[in-house]
Symmetry: C2
Subunit: 224 residues, 2 copies
């Protein structure tokens, strides 16, 4: 019983801080998105293509990059000329996710009033990050076409907490026995309301729709 109580306390503390993050996003008028996926599904490469397209449209972006260790991702993202904070969870015991307790102080390193969009690139893990509310307006899962059509069924919580899915690496489809429609169908079984985007982070294919959705959400938030 003690263990269950502690877990509950951790999640309750997280939820409280996630609410604080929501208040900050409301106060300063930026959209907060939380991108989650397995390791190696191509989150950083996607962002390298996506962010310049957003910047071209005048969107002021910042990124919080989470990893257990290394600053490889933030180094790549920083080349896009935008504010980046790297969170290394090995300072917090090698955590397998970003909790609200590390995101809130990371947000405070930015000039929040100058931003339209803050992107959280979560730790690569299709399980644990789904359990922790980050206060994001929008949860996005990236799944690549090399990962198998069954993943939504096997990791349902992730696909339940996300309202947007990017099926990534579609440039590899000619070389794989992979049924994209079956993957989309399996996503729909877990979450019928999911917005699904088919993209290639490498070639940029399919990203225009993602950019348009993000711009729509940013405008919606600004006019709220």
């Amino acid at each position: 019983m003690t263990e269950i109580q502690v877990v509950r306390n951790v999640l309750e503390a997280n939820d409280q801080l996630a609410n604080d993050i929501r208040s900050e996003a409301q106060k300063y008028g930026f959209l907060l998105i939380n991108i989650m996926s397995s390791p190696g599904s191509g989150k950083t490469t996607l962002l390298e293509k996506l962010i310049p397209e957003l910047q071209k449209r005048g969107v002021k972006v910042a990124v919080i990059a989470g990893d257990i260790t290394t600053s490889a991702d933030s180094t790549r993202i920083a080349r896009l000329n935008l504010p980046v904070v790297q969170i290394n969870t090995d300072l917090f015991g090698g955590d397998c996710h970003l909790g609200a307790e590390v995101i809130l102080p990371a947000l405070h390193k930015f000039e929040l009033k100058d931003l339209d969009l803050v992107i959280i690139e979560n730790v690569g893990n299709l399980v644990c990050p789904a359990e922790f509310d980050t206060g994001a307006d929008l949860n996005l899962v990236v799944i690549s076409v090399t990962e198998g059509e069954d993943k939504p069924l096997k990791y349902p919580l992730m696909f339940r907490v996300c309202n947007n899915a990017i099926i990534n690496k579609i440039d590899l489809l000619p070389y794989l026995k992979f049924n994209v429609d079956l993957l989309a169908e399996n996503i729909g079984k877990i979450n019928p309301q999911m917005d699904i985007f088919k993209c290639s982070g490498l070639t940029g294919k399919g990203l225009t729709e993602v950019v348009e959705k993000l711009c729509f959400k940013i405008n919606q938030k600004n006019s709220a």
Copy 2:
């Protein structure tokens, strides 16, 4: 402090049960291997190719398949005519790993005296399973060539607790900008003693060496 104490208790309880598993493996003379990876790195497809090769050499194999939910993997493995136990961790709160407390009772569903090799196919997660000793003689990490060369550096604990690595999906190399040597070099930075195998679960390429290593370890254990 309470939280830290509880985590310590959980890990200590796990270690005790992992020792019990080691005693069982010693008593009945089977080799226990624990296969870990990201979701979608191709563990099940690898096993579908690997197990028949082992069976041809007279190795009596059983599999414990871990997933949060679904019995997709165990259904595929069961077609190979061998004993399979599926563990669904959603019965235990959606656990992101297999702990010794679920593996020990799973082992007891087999006729252990008839087995040479028990394979644990862990939950797809490159983080948490590395933290829990399963009592296995051999920890094996699978990483596919679609996941990026940097993963050993970003998920070092997994590459530290494993003494064997399969670089999988090498059949896709012609279609990727991927440097296998750099991946192997990064694995070596984290764990210089790692045995590295380059394989394709789809074509079967490179699996002979894995089969030979496993047969060597099984013989070693039998003659101990």
